[in-house]
Amino acid sequence: MQTVLSVKGLTKNFGKLCAVNQLNLEVKAGQVFGMLGPNGSGKTTTLGMLMGVTNPSAGEFSWFGEAPSHTIRKRIGAVLEHPIFYPYLSGQKNLELNATIKQADPANIAKVLEVVELTARKDDKYKTYSLGMKQRLAIASALVSDPEILILDEPTNGLDPMGIAEIRQIIKRIAADGKTIILASHLLDEVQKVCTHYAVLRKGQLVHSGPVDDVGRGEELVEVNAYHDDLALILQKFEGAKSVKKEGANYAVQMNDGFHSHDLNKFLFNKGIVVSYLATQKKSLEKQFLEILADNKK
């Protein structure tokens, strides 16, 4: 697969503060790449450097294998932090301006307004828009040049649940078109739902990167319950059990590699115990994320 973005040793110092430290990243065509990290971990600074608004202190990066330049930026649609537009211009006029800068076909404007469902309000001034509409206009402006890559930084920040769902739908639709998307967020649930790959930043350093599908792999955690007084003791005799913990009314069994919930069920059945509750807990990205961050604190 073609490498779209390659980052090597990218560093940014603000005085004594090192906002981004020796960052290495690769994003390939067609990926939906999630950048995770707590607030202030250097996500926006990194994207700012990639988009030419922040001057890097050291390191280099390339888009499509070429050195960065303003011509290449025209092939990327990006919204960093909150939406930025001229408040006194209408949505339509703002997009016209974006299209002129990007030297994009003005015919795209009507199309992208349709995608983000703003056609009805396009002639109203930007300053009259609600936050959700502003975010949607920002996505429209990123799409106006029909870019190969889309960069979205906290696109659902400050939105209500409906707005979040809408933006997520838009992102999924765009991803389905085969576009590469880089999505910075601290909402783990969001990244797990829409991304194919992810990287975790902490204090400007890359602490983990890999495919989202890998998150659920590895040891399983099975929650189990049955009407039996010595259930805990019996569970501990199960060869597939690494550890047994009481969680609420149920027991949480950390499974050894290669053992699954059905093995546990069979074991109990053979002992003459019928389970009343059995559930496999997939490890969520949230758990993984907190583990990664905790590991790196040591």
Binding site: M51, T54, R73, L89, K93, L97, T100, I101
Partner: protein, 267 residues
């Protein structure tokens, strides 16, 4: 070039403040320069009430070729209004942070600066066109025995006027980029002449030769005050090459400093 000018004009032409300020500028400029004769007539009629006779036709304010220097000298005072518009236009980009989005969208920092400089050129050209038309119309009306050879003899002042406006707007653009806040920029811009005056007054006795090299001083020197000639005093009735050279250097310096500032900063 046209592409960059279009970008900046798109930002301005739907902006009500732009039309108010620029409209105010051209209306004031037009009225003031065109109404000099009417003012003299009013002065004469007032004078007549007190028994003194002013023969206004003896004052060749609007006669070719004097008219060029007379009107252009007066016009120079209004450039501050135009400069306010430049301040608003450039500081808006920082308050709305749109400069950041412009760069993200694929404008280079140099292109961003050029789009502002081209607008400055356009505003300077429009001022020149305005003054040219007013000189032509009022000159043809008020010059008694018109000799065509005199019509364009002093048109060189129009070139100096262009440089005067453009140099001042370049200075304004640089201040706006450095300060980034409209209020403070307007205050410093308005005080520039005074600050320079205080400095000049203090070094007058030691390094008098340096005074023509001051930026505001050199811009004012492009078109010298013409009116003392009507009370039989010697005036500088030409555009001196040295002041053109000094102002050109300042103009390049202002725009180059803007470029350096923009190149280095994190937006």
């Amino acid at each position: 070039m046209l592409h960059l000018l279009t970008i900046d004009l798109k930002k301005l032409t739907s902006y009500r403040t732009f039309w108010v300020v620029v409209g105010l500028y051209f209306i004031t400029l037009g009225f003031t320069t065109a109404s000099g004769m009417e003012f003299l007539k009013w002065l004469a009629s007032k004078g007549a009430e007190f028994g003194s006779v002013i023969k206004i036709n003896r004052i060749p304010l609007y006669h070719f070729p004097d008219i060029w220097q007379n009107l252009i000298y007066i016009s120079g005072f209004f450039k501050l209004i135009l400069a306010f518009m430049v301040v608003i236009s450039v500081t808006n980009e920082f308050t709305y942070r749109t400069i950041r989005q412009n760069i993200i969208d694929g404008l280079s920092r140099t292109e961003f600066l050029l789009s502002k400089i081209f607008t400055n050129v356009l505003l300077s050209v429009l001022s020149c066109v305005m003054i040219f038309l007013i000189v032509m119309v009022t000159g043809l009306i008020y010059t008694p025995d018109l000799e065509l050879s005199y019509l364009f003899t002093d048109i060189g002042f129009l070139g100096a006027y262009f440089l005067e406006i453009f140099a001042f707007l370049s200075y304004t653009l640089m201040l706006g980029l450095l300060i980034q806040r409209s209020g403070l920029t307007i205050v410093i811009l308005s005080l520039s002449f005074m600050i320079e005056f205080i400095i000049k007054a203090n070094i007058d006795d030691y390094v008098a030769w340096a005074i023509p090299f001051f930026p505001m001083e050199s811009i004012s020197n492009l078109v010298a005050i013409p009116f003392p000639r009507y009370v039989f005093q010697e005036i500088q009735d030409y555009v001196s090459i040295s002041s053109v050279a000094i102002v050109l250097c300042w103009t390049v310096a202002f725009n180059y400093l803007s470029y350096l500032k923009l190149k280095k900063s994190d937006l």
